[in-house]
């Protein structure tokens, strides 16, 4: 399509996930191309978080297949998946509140050993988020909500991921801050990191994404290029404030 289609980073096939007897995902399938931003939008309880947890190995599908760069990673352990190059920024900015900004970032580089290249990554994170550099020695817990979200994303970048999974980064943030963070996400993406973005804020998400999927109570009912979804009457009615 627009030069981004150089093969699939992530491929989900017929994913079924249960919590006990409750089925949260009903055989969903989707994919992320290399270099793309793909968004998964849906209301509360649609199964967005569940999808991301399954991709990062915290939840097991039965049945279902998760492929990363062509390899089946459905049964790979979570920490191994991080080493493969998928990193998950969980819902609700779960940073280490007792650690400083710097220590949080170092924690993000846990799987890496080369001190010099870790330092380089940290500089890159500061390029994206200059605010973090100003607050290098501040405790994570004392950061503002927006700064915490930046730290959570920065920390994830420290593992040098090929695919970034983001769970509702806009949650609880002022629109202007969401805009700032989403712009940064585009920069990160421009440097070659593919992004799977889960959002309730459909307008914002679709405005930076290449393609989108709409998840409704465990089913993917609508999908397509982000621009088309923005004008899709059903999406407009249900997720874009109806106007």
């Amino acid at each position: 399509m627009n030069g981004k289609d150089k093969g699939k980073v992530l491929e989900i096939e017929n994913l079924n996930v249960y919590y006990g007897a409750i089925q949260a995902l009903h055989g969903i399938s989707f994919y992320v191309n290399k270099g793309e931003i793909v968004t998964l939008i849906g209301a509360n309880g649609a199964g967005k978080t569940t999808t991301l947890r399954t991709v990062s190995g915290l939840q097991r599908p039965r049945p279902g297949v998760v492929r990363f760069l062509g390899a089946d990673i459905t049964h790979v352990k979570p920490h191994q998946i991080v080493k493969e190059g998928i990193v998950h920024v969980p819902e609700g900015r779960r940073i280490f509140s007792a650690l400083t900004v710097k220590e949080n970032l170092e924690m993000g580089a846990f799987i890496r050993t080369d001190k010099r290249s870790i330092q380089e990554s940290m500089e890159q994170v500061f390029d994206h988020f200059p605010r973090l550099k100003e607050r290098l020695h501040q405790l994570g817990g004392t950061l503002s909500g927006g700064e915490q979200q930046m730290l959570a994303i920065g920390r994830a970048l420290m593992s040098k991921p090929k695919l970034l999974l983001l769970d509702e980064p806009s949650m609880g943030l002022a629109p202007i801050l969401v805009e700032e963070i989403f712009k940064i996400l585009q920069n990160i993406n421009a440097q070659g990191v593919s992004v799977l973005l889960v959002e309730q804020n459909a307008l914002m998400a679709l405005s930076i994404a290449d393609r989108g999927y709409v998840l409704e109570t465990g089913f993917i009912n609508i999908q397509g290029p982000a621009k088309e979804l923005l004008t899709n009457p059903r999406v407009k009615a249900a997720y874009l404030g109806g106007s």
Partner: protein, 564 residues
């Protein structure tokens, strides 16, 4: 507020609280049994001190609550609180005097002895007056200590507490002070009057001096320390090492015995601190590994069983090995558990081990209820390690090893992984941390240190019974970690000295050990939840404001030196 009845007013709430507490202390028998020892010889026994200390404490808490009130009003409040407490005790004494009531059939400790202690042996007239007066003074003292600003208030409170501590530990000072000096300060039981007054005012003077010049001294020390950090650090190490090596000579055999016990708990504490403090896994069955280490030592060296005839040093690695295996064995089934579930399962594990060593079926290999005798003594060259000062050095070596292991792990990558696990299991996985392996490693290293401690314990006792390995040990170790400061290595030492050492020295406290532990733990959680010697990161976490000051630290050299 004013239209409430006086008897329901806030000051009266504190008064009733004080009254109930002191009556309770009297009825559980603490007052009488503490009175066997004098605090100030001929003036006040430790039992009486307990009452006044309690009243002063309530006065203090009340004073803190009304910080912006006038000093006079606070003094009045303190006085009222003391008055109510004193009155409650007088009523108690009068009640014990009513024959038909027969209070003693319900409260065994409402004895003539108690009456004698409460009335200072002066009979009901003068005794009551005395009791009432001292209670009132204690209440006023506590209240004033809380509200008088700056060094005078806190200085009064601190010098009173330090003086009390010195008085309680009279026996220690006597063992190594020159006889003449000891005679000057201390009577047969506790302080004499001059000794008490001199000690109290000396400490007060010192605290005043420190408040005036302390900051300056700290800064100049900080300057030296920052200019030559290595030298200062080495000096401290050398000084502590020399003191540690000379300690058994200084304190004699009895106190060496106490130190040995404290040391055995320190090794265990350093181990459990890895599991609970570093990795955040609440383990209540920690005694199991201690028992396994001890029993390995017993089974492999005891001639009574006659199964093996290894020496102490040959068995020591086995003790650690078996403890580690048990640690992993326990770790596997509890991998998915956290918090209270984990605590209960590990507790069960501890009991299982205890029941196994107790069982008749395993008697031929484990000795059954009678336990094991003739456990090997360690030998170093030609010396057989057997008396407390000799064991002290062995235990000290064990502490050094445990300390080294714990501090190396803490600063390692594994230590950071444990920290992540403790804070947030999901996020830890998202950082690429293998939870299974780091959990098992935490259990294994914790168990190894406990096994080491148990092996030394067995060799020291020479014989042992299953009864030594109850869940109480797990609770003691956990408590000392909490009191010292979760995750802090120096905290383990401080906690062990406070919770294991002090009760050994204050024998009459032993009976009320659990009660005092409970009170101390509740108090700690309320007023100093980070512990006596907290880990810097925890302190930051619990006192958010201090965290911010770390940012400005570069512009504030005084704060820097405090951190150092």
């Amino acid at each position: 507020m004013e239209n409430r009845h006086f008897w329901q007013s806030e000051v009266m709430n504190f008064g009733w609280l004080a009254g109930i507490l002191v009556v309770l202390l009297a009825l559980v028998g603490m007052v009488v049994s503490f009175s066997q020892r004098g605090f100030i010889s001929g003036v006040m026994s430790e039992g009486q001190l307990l009452i006044f200390l309690t009243v002063a404490l309530i006065g203090f808490v009340a004073g803190k609550k009304m910080e912006r009130q006038s000093v006079l009003k606070v003094a009045l409040w303190g006085g009222i609180i003391g008055f109510v407490a004193g009155l409650s005790l007088i009523v108690l004494v009068l009640l014990t005097g009513i024959k038909p009531l027969n209070l003693r059939s319900m409260f065994l400790n409402a004895s003539p002895q108690l009456v004698k202690v409460l009335t200072f042996g002066k009979g009901q007239g003068a005794g009551f007056l005395y009791l009432l007066l001292l209670n009132i003074l204690s209440g006023i003292f506590g209240g004033l200590a809380a509200v008088i600003p700056g060094i005078w208030g806190s200085g009064l409170a601190n010098s009173a507490l330090i003086t009390i501590l010195i008085g309680l530990l009279t026996d220690i000072w006597k063992t190594f002070l020159p006889r003449g000096v000891a005679k000057f300060f201390f009577a047969n039981k506790g302080f004499n009057v001059t000794g008490f007054l001199i000690t109290f005012f000396f400490i007060l003077a010192f605290l005043l001096f420190w408040s005036l010049y302390g900051a300056r001294i700290k800064v100049s020390y900080g300057n030296v320390a920052s200019r030559q950090p290595k030298k200062v650090k080495i000096t401290w190490w050398v000084i502590s090492l020399v003191v540690l090596l000379l300690l058994p000579r200084l304190v004699g055999s009895y106190l060496s015995e106490v130190l040995d016990l404290v040391g055995i708990y320190i090794i265990m504490g350093l181990g459990l601190n890895i599991v609970v403090g570093f990795a955040g896994l609440l383990d209540l069955g920690y005694v199991a590994f201690f028992a396994i280490g001890a029993y390995t030592m017993g089974v492999f060296t005891s001639p009574e069983l006659g199964l093996f005839h290894l020496t102490f040093w040959e068995t020591l690695p086995l003790s650690i090995l078996f403890a580690v295996l048990a640690g992993v064995l326990l770790g596997i089934p509890v991998l998915g558990m956290r918090g209270d579930y984990l605590a209960i399962v590990t507790m069960g594990f501890g009991e299982i081990i205890r029941l196994l060593v107790l069982s008749d079926a395993l008697k031929p290999i484990l000795g059954g209820a009678q336990g094991l005798v003739g456990i090997a003594r360690p030998t170093v060259g030609h010396i057989v390690v057997k008396n407390p000062p000799q064991f002290y050095y062995l235990i000290l070596a064990g502490i050094f090893i445990a300390w080294y292991v714990a501090s190396a792990l803490k600063d390692s990558k594994l230590g950071r992984a444990w920290m992540a696990l403790r804070e947030d299991e999901d996020v830890a996985q998202a950082m690429g941390i293998n939870l299974v392996s780091i959990k098992l490693l935490a259990f294994a290293t914790g168990a190894a240190l406990s096994g080491l401690s148990g092996a030394i314990f067995a060799a020291k006792l020479n014989s042992m019974v299953p009864h030594s390995f109850t869940i109480l040990i797990s609770i003691y170790v956990l408590s000392l970690i909490i009191v010292g400061g979760v995750g802090s290595l120096p905290g383990v030492v401080v906690g062990a000295l406070a919770l294991i050492g002090t009760p050994e020295l204050l024998r009459e406290f032993a009976e009320y050990r659990m009660m005092i532990y409970g009170a101390v733990l509740v108090g700690m959680m309320l007023y100093k939840p980070e512990g006596l010697w907290p880990e810097p990161a925890r302190r930051r976490e619990l006192h958010g404001e201090e965290g911010k000051s770390a940012v400005t630290a570069s512009t504030a050299p005084v704060q820097m030196s405090e951190e150092a």
